[in-house]
């Protein structure tokens, strides 16, 4: 694969997030690149999930949250008052730590997003569902039981279903908040394989506690600590030759 020029997809400038009086993120500035996988690592409570959730404005749901600074996607500040949050979230998909299939059929789970967008034609929905399932490497396992309840799937399948559901609305960015933390190693390997496939189509940001996982799937890594961005750069560099002492201590397992 030839080297493609890096294009900035998400650009944070001096982004601070407060929960009430507590500051959770301190003036974060970083650029995330298009069609690359970026991993956020750091100990619990370091602000990596907060940053992830500010990319699709999920923090809006927390009544006490307050955000200052600039966060641009494709050059548009998503915290501008003219930005429609609902439209934004359609462009920025999200997969959560706990797989959360809706208690509906597999088909209806994936069709949920497209239906919100007003797609009602059965043929079109069929196509989207099939495509999403194929792209999330779940199609072969469930193609004969699309009408069965999604609750009957295994944990790993449920998480891939959530990925399928997220990509069914055709986002350009995929946020993953510790997508494998509740899965067994085999399911985790499948999801990781899938992430490497999906990066051809989407810009992916993944929060993980698993250092090996970050090393395996990501091209870039950002290390957060106590609400500050300590270091950001090529994953290989972060893991083999970090420039900050804290980063080295963390990736070598000396703390965290």
């Amino acid at each position: 694969m030839g080297k493609k020029p890096l294009e900035t997809k998400i650009q944070a400038t001096d982004l601070s997030v407060y929960y009430g009086a507590k500051q959770a993120l301190h003036r974060i500035s970083l650029d995330l690149y298009e069609q690359e996988v970026t991993a956020f690592i750091g100990p619990s409570g370091c602000g990596k999930s907060t940053f992830l959730r500010s990319i699709n404005r999920m923090n809006d749901l927390v009544p006490t949250a307050r955000i200052t600074g600039h966060l641009g996607i494709d050059g548009v500040n998503i915290y501008d008052s003219s930005v429609d949050v609902v439209e934004l979230r359609k462009r920025v998909g999200m997969v959560f730590q706990k797989s959360t299939p809706f208690p509906k059929s597999i088909y209806d789970n994936i069709a949920f997003g497209p239906r919100l967008n007003g797609i009602t034609e059965r043929k079109e929905l069929d196509r989207i569902v099939e495509e999403s399932l194929i792209n999330s490497a779940l199609f072969d396992e469930v193609k004969d039981r699309l009408d069965a309840s999604a609750m009957g799937l295994s944990g790993g399948q449920q998480q891939r279903l959530c990925i399928a559901r997220a990509i069914a609305v055709n986002p350009s960015i995929l946020l993953m908040d510790e997508p494998c933390s509740a899965l067994d190693p085999i399911s985790t390997a499948k999801i990781e394989e899938l992430i490497l496939e999906l990066k051809k189509l989407y810009t992916i940001v993944i929060v993980t506690h698993n250092m090996q996982q970050a090393a395996r799937v990501s091209e870039y890594t950002a290390f957060f600590y106590m609400g500050h961005l300590v270091e950001y750069g090529k994953t290989r560099k972060i893991f083999t030759n970090p420039s900050k002492k804290e980063t080295e201590d963390y990736v070598t397992g000396r703390f965290g």
Partner: protein
Amino acid sequence: MGVGIGCGGWSGGVREQTNKTIHGVSCLCTLQGTVFPLHIKFPLRRIFPCPSIVFLFKKFVTLPRTTSNPFINLVLMPTKRLIGLFAVGAATFAVVAIAGLVVSTMGTFLVNGVPHLSWQFLSEAPRNNNTEGGIFPAIYGTTLLVLVMSILGVPIGTITAVYLNEYTRAGAVLPRVIRFAVNTLAGVPSIVFGLFGLGFFVQFLGGGMDKVLGNTEAVWSQPALLWAAATLAALTLPVVIVSVEEALKTVPREMRESSLALGATRWQTIWKIVLPNSTTGILTGSILAIGRSAGEVAPILFTGVVYSLPQLPDGISSQFMHLGYHLFVLSTQSPDVDKTLPLQYATTLVLLLLTFTLNFAATFIRSRLRSKQIR
């Protein structure tokens, strides 16, 4: 029906996350025939601010760790066991007492009521000043009343619960006012609801409607099925609101977030994810409301029920007969009370069976929905 409470103090349950010992009182309550366990947990320090009392209480009541201290082994542990035994004993007694009460009550009405049950009794109208004939208009009226009440009350209660749970922030003033009002409503005697219904629904709303519609004679401004049902709906509103709210709370936050993250609006999330996941709770609310209201007579006294009616009500603006009120009429207003005794037993039995049937129907629908949901 009465209220029965059996209770026992307990202590020593350890909360998983905080590892703190919790103390509390457990009761088995029976209210209007529904038995439910009630656990009141309280952190000790909030109740006993004085540390030495807390210490003493803990010493005597909480579960001591394994130890070789003879005082603990010979005095504290047996005391603790005794208290536990007392709690279990009290709860068991309560259950047995409740069961006995139910069996003896139902038994009385079954034994005395069944012989008089017949097709004629169920399908005919009362005759000869309520001393002969059947009770069909009363069965019809009661069923219709409960149905209209559910149609009016359940949606309003559900909407209120959705508002309280989904659209307000904890601690805001307005929801607190609403909650206070709802809780107060639950404690208002039902006869007061009857008076409220007469004043608000019949005279104010009904009178207003007649004026607006230009009716020269009273159509809406008189007691009617609609107003009686509305009064009952107001009476049962707190029950519906509380049970729907409980159901809404069980929908996991992650599920709402997943929906929102897919670009659903808040309303779409409520309509397509939260409410479908709460149908069982909504039905529970309806069941409790039906159970509470089917036997209520006081609220409908002034708002729609009548002594005797030659024909069935022909619409929601008609008056109607009601089983509970009919029973009252049979036992106090009849020229010959002794003669109507079998009628009274049979009427009571039918009222109980009707309430149970409505309850079971709703429970059945709920369990069907539940099994469909989880699969």
